[in-house]
Symmetry: C2
Subunit: 254 residues, 2 copies
């Protein structure tokens, strides 16, 4: 039974793509069949896996609004159990086009009903840094949402607005939408503010926060420049270990 | 003669807000009359200056689409020569509403023609992490655009797309739009990737890159949690010094 997880936060640069790539890779090495849908026009999940596609190649945009099927759009990655539906810059057009299409909030939800997706254990939706039509489509389609939160001042601010948006999505389109968890990212244990933000997250969202905390670790920034998940770049690093722990935590809770 | 500078990059978390607040503050202590327009629905420039406004208070959204004037919307900050037109979450509605308004690309440009803005030497437009209607309005209204680029792999990727977007804006709405400069941010001299990205920026964009480089510095993350520009939080820090240098560089080139 496939589990669709949206990775979302309208605050920019909090680790949505880094979490999508590395959590998906960590689950793939546990032999879960995992698919990443790169919904961000920046297509960082695609380039972070070392994949570059031509403008005319099948991508999430054509899959969503065009006539490309899942079968012809999904491509393999460097890991046996990890596949990708690549993103492209074309997706930037979706935001303004969707405003004029009827039922535009449920486009992705309908497309994900295709039987071709049933073979996956997890489908991760990497979202852009906004709460526009792309992210709304992801939240409408998802069983749960994973919220990376950088351990910095500005990152805490937007969290309550995101949780309110989830309430709206539940009421209007997706009553079963859960929070997979709040994931503290770029945590620096030597930094007072970092510790304060983590303490605040534990205090205000005790039942939502993951036990796993992702440290600020240089390998997480370097790995995408080699087109690899951190697991294939430096498996012993704290960055790689922290995502393996997160994958184990998610599998344990089921 | 007022100079309108958009601070933009669709990549999230690269230091747009941090640059807006601290460059504006550095110019204000040089006794330039500076205004910040917080165009981001996250309203981080507003909270980063320690300002919180009620839902009904005048904000950029009402100024842009409602009937609030500049005079009644602009508020003082903790620095004599720095003022703010505060942001609010209402701005999130602008993206979908603008798609239906005629001439929606030039709404801000028209509003900035108000004589109330003539008294400012610099007006900074803090943009959200996308190239939607909000950022397009900023680019159409601006004399120049300042592009913060984090010294990380993903941040380089989106730069060529942003520069292409600027070309489109020049052709369609704003022929005089210049690049104020590309500003390397969060530079860590001990980090190989950071040095490589900086070297790449210098090689590919030699005539656009600033001499000033903003280092990764903990005070830049801490200052907004005290509602202060870094200059008022820790003036001797490398973070504060780097933005003072940037202000001097911009004033020298004129
Ligand atoms: N734990 C970490 N330690 C060090 N660097 C990290 C970590 N997580 C992410 N990074 C780096 O920080 C930057 C931002 O991360 P990422 O791009 O994954 O965030 P995002 O939320 O997907 O951004 P956007 O909002 O633009 O989509 C990237 O350059 C990434 O390599
Ligand atoms: N030079 C720096 N050194 C250390 N931390 C920094 C630096 N510049 C910014 N930061 C921190 O990094 C985070 C991202 O910066 P900021 O919010 O200014 O980026 P942004 O581009 O405005 O993000 P968004 O895309 O969400 O608008 C913030 O928590 C900020 O405090
Ligand atoms: Mg991303
Ligand atoms: Mg910002």
């Amino acid at each position: 039974m496939k589990k669709i997880v949206a990775v979302a936060n309208q605050k920019g640069g909090v680790g949505k793509t880094t979490t999508t790539i590395n959590l998906a890779a960590s689950l793939a090495v546990e032999e879960k069949n995992v698919l990443i849908l790169d919904l961000d026009p920046q297509a960082n999940s695609t380039s972070g896996l070392g994949i570059s596609i031509s403008q005319s190649a099948p991508s999430t945009y054509q899959f969503l609004v065009g006539d490309r099927s899942a079968e012809e759009s999904i491509i393999p990655s460097s890991l046996k159990y990890l596949s990708l539906l690549p993103g492209s810059i074309n997706m930037a057009g979706f935001e303004s086009e969707a405003a004029k299409i009827r039922g535009s909030h449920q486009l992705l939800q309908k497309k994900l009903e295709d039987p071709a997706f049933e073979k996956y254990d997890f489908i991760f939706l990497d979202c852009p840094p906004s709460l526009g039509y792309i992210t709304i489509n992801a939240l409408v389609s998802a069983h749960s949402v994973l919220i990376p939160v950088q351990c910095e001042f500005f990152a805490l601010e937007g969290l309550s607005h995101l949780l309110k948006t989830l309430d709206r999505i539940r009421k209007q389109w997706n009553p079963g939408l859960n929070v997979e968890g709040i994931l503290p990212t770029m945590f620096d244990r030597r930094n007072r503010l970092s510790n304060q933000v983590l303490a605040d997250l534990k205090k205000h969202f005790p039942e939502m926060i993951f036990k796993s905390v992702i440290p600020r670790n240089v390998t997480l920034g370097e790995a995408p420049s080699y087109g690899k998940p951190v697991l294939l770049y430096d498996a012993l690093s704290r960055g790689a270990q922290s995502y393996l722990h997160l994958a184990r935590e998610i599998l344990a809770y089921g």
